[in-house]
Amino acid sequence: MTSRLLAAAVVLAHVAAAALAAPPANAVRAPGKHAEDTCTACHLTLDDARLRAPAQLANSDIHHTQGITCAGCHGGDAGSEDPAVAMNAAKGFVGKFGRRAIAEMCGSCHSDPTFMLRYAPNIPTDQLAQYRTSKHGVALAKGDTNIAVCSSCHGAHGVLQVNDARSPVYPTRIVETCGHCHGDAALMARYGIKGNEIAEYKQSVHYAVLVKKNDLSAPTCKSCHGAHGATPPGVSSVSNVCGTCHPTQRERFDLSPHKDAFAALQEPACESCHSNHAILHPTDGWIGVGEKQVCGNCHSAGDAGATAASAISGALEKATATITGAQGRVDRVKRAGMLMDDADVKLEEAHQSLVVAQVEIHTVNPARVEDQTKAVLAASGAADTLAAKAEAEIRYRRTGLFISLGVIALALVALIIKIRAMER
């Protein structure tokens, strides 16, 4: 009698919990059936929030909705309502996983191409192998259990797909996820890492574009360091890494004497001038050997590099000044009421050539930069000429106006005199 009452109670609890555990009416159901299992049913009813939480996250968890439920990772018997049976170690149950076990456990499915084919054929299966090469993986193998493992970034329960905007590893959220540890300077000090990388990255143009313009193509931590194989790129690979998105600059750099020089000095190429995390918008003022100018990091006044730098800097300054001057003249004329579409097109051309000139900086060859700045000067000159024409037109109109006003004034005077004469 008691056991039947108990069974009934559990079933009732099961039904109630199933009702509670049902997804909200408007949720999109992932393919694969919801496996009803006793684990979530029972855990949802528990008082301890820590034990309840995984069950509450079950319906948003990609594994759970695909049919891989608690037992899929934790083992045990999902069909039994008896905790002693369900969570029996003999049936393979593992409660809380140890750090080292987590990577192996996740990898037991995610590194198995045959298994992954059944669920998501397009997800790579090399994550564990990559992880083992990463700084995190290497440290973990050496026994450091305070290190990042799969669940540190992806979560353990309530795991979302990477392309789900709520996932901690969605591109816009990665820096905060890495920042949980890498933003903690005291923690990083123990590993000889400066700990200011996150703060520096947040000053960068890449971060600004990612977060403000929601440009998902902007690089975040994983773009340069790798996701699972997270390791800083070696000194000799920096230009390769930057070059994946900035191939034109990289091509130009490869043409320059800097390529071999940096390799010989074992200096990281792009990083030496642009920094690695606090990548700011470069300005032409950086070029030179003066204070706060990047060339001076290696070159000194009078040497070949300094000479080239001053030639390049001079050409760019002149080009920029010409554009600014032409733009100002065009703007003034626009304010006076003229429409300057043709001049706008020329200024846009000039601007494009200036951008190309700035890319040519990386060849450190003044002749190549000057080829482009010549185009800038030509286009700005054309815009300037159009502005001058417009100014001439304005003068013509004003002259015409004054002549007309003069004629009207004459007519006025004549009329008034006539009126007076008539009425005398």
Binding site: A336, G337, L339, D341, R397, R398, G400, L401, S404, L405, I408, A409, A411, L412, L415, I416, K418, I419, M422, E423
Partner: protein, 360 residues
Amino acid sequence: MRILDRLWRALDDRLDLAPLVEFATHKEVPQHRRSWAYYFGGLTMFFFFVQVATGILLLLYYRPTAEAAFESVQFIVTRVPFGWLIRSVHSWSANLMILAAFAHMFSVYMMGSYARPREFTWWSGFVLLLLAMGFGFSGYLLPWNELSFFATRVGTDMVSKVPLAGEWLLKFLRGGEEVTGATLTRFFGFHVAVLPMITMALLGVHLALLQRQGMHIPEGLEEEARARKPLRFVPNFVMREGVVWLVGLAALAALAAFFPWELGVKADPFTSAPAGIKPEWYFLFMFEALKLLPAHVLGIEGELVGLGVFSLAGLVWFLVPVLDRGSQVGHRSRAFVVLGWLALAYVVSFTLLSFAGVFK
């Protein structure tokens, strides 16, 4: 000149022109200390003629579709010889015409010229003012730029508040539910055909009445008018009007050259309205007042109340010749003089305050 004489005699022979000429020229314009106000009406008409002329010229190049309107105005202003002048003169003359019309109306009111027997002149004049504002409102949309698009949207939104006929009126004005290319075509039709036709007819009536009834002398100035010799309409007053019109022409030329009318940005119905959308200045005194009203007044929607008040005010203003009993017998009442000053003060102050940015 002999040719002209012969031409005249030929026409006179057939049409008996003498009475017509007499009708057109017999009028005498009294002279008193307020007779400077007599020029406002003619000045309004001058600006209207400028509008007709420049408007017809613009018609040679303008295209009334959403796809091409903005570009065609840009074409006129940049590529057509003196297109910039014609277009700027058209825009400025519109504003000067309405300014002159208001000056004319208020001076006529203050001089009490609506009094019997000139009620019809007042009524035709009031409708002419409404037509002028209709010209302004319809014409403002035609360049199809951002400002005019959104100003039209806000302006036409008002009509939907009219009880019973609101929805129908809205669709009639907009050519649909929203402001679209259909609205542009419709406004164009109003602007170049419907309104000009009605205006020409009413203007003819207005002028004919003037000729028939002669000029009104304000109460209290009859002595002075008798003492001073009146001007013959033709040629003396007309020549003086010529002076005033030449000054108006000079003003238009200067404004067009020094303050050319801007082209703006092409209208895009899908962008959100830029901040600070407001109608042309001659609607501001109503616009700002409507904005000041609370959302609901005694349970009725605020804007509807505002609309009602303005309609009532307009009706009262229209019916002034009848409501001001005194004016029917030659002694207009002081109350209406005060009303006139109050109305003028309201219109002027609200317009100026709006410019000063007081109504933020």
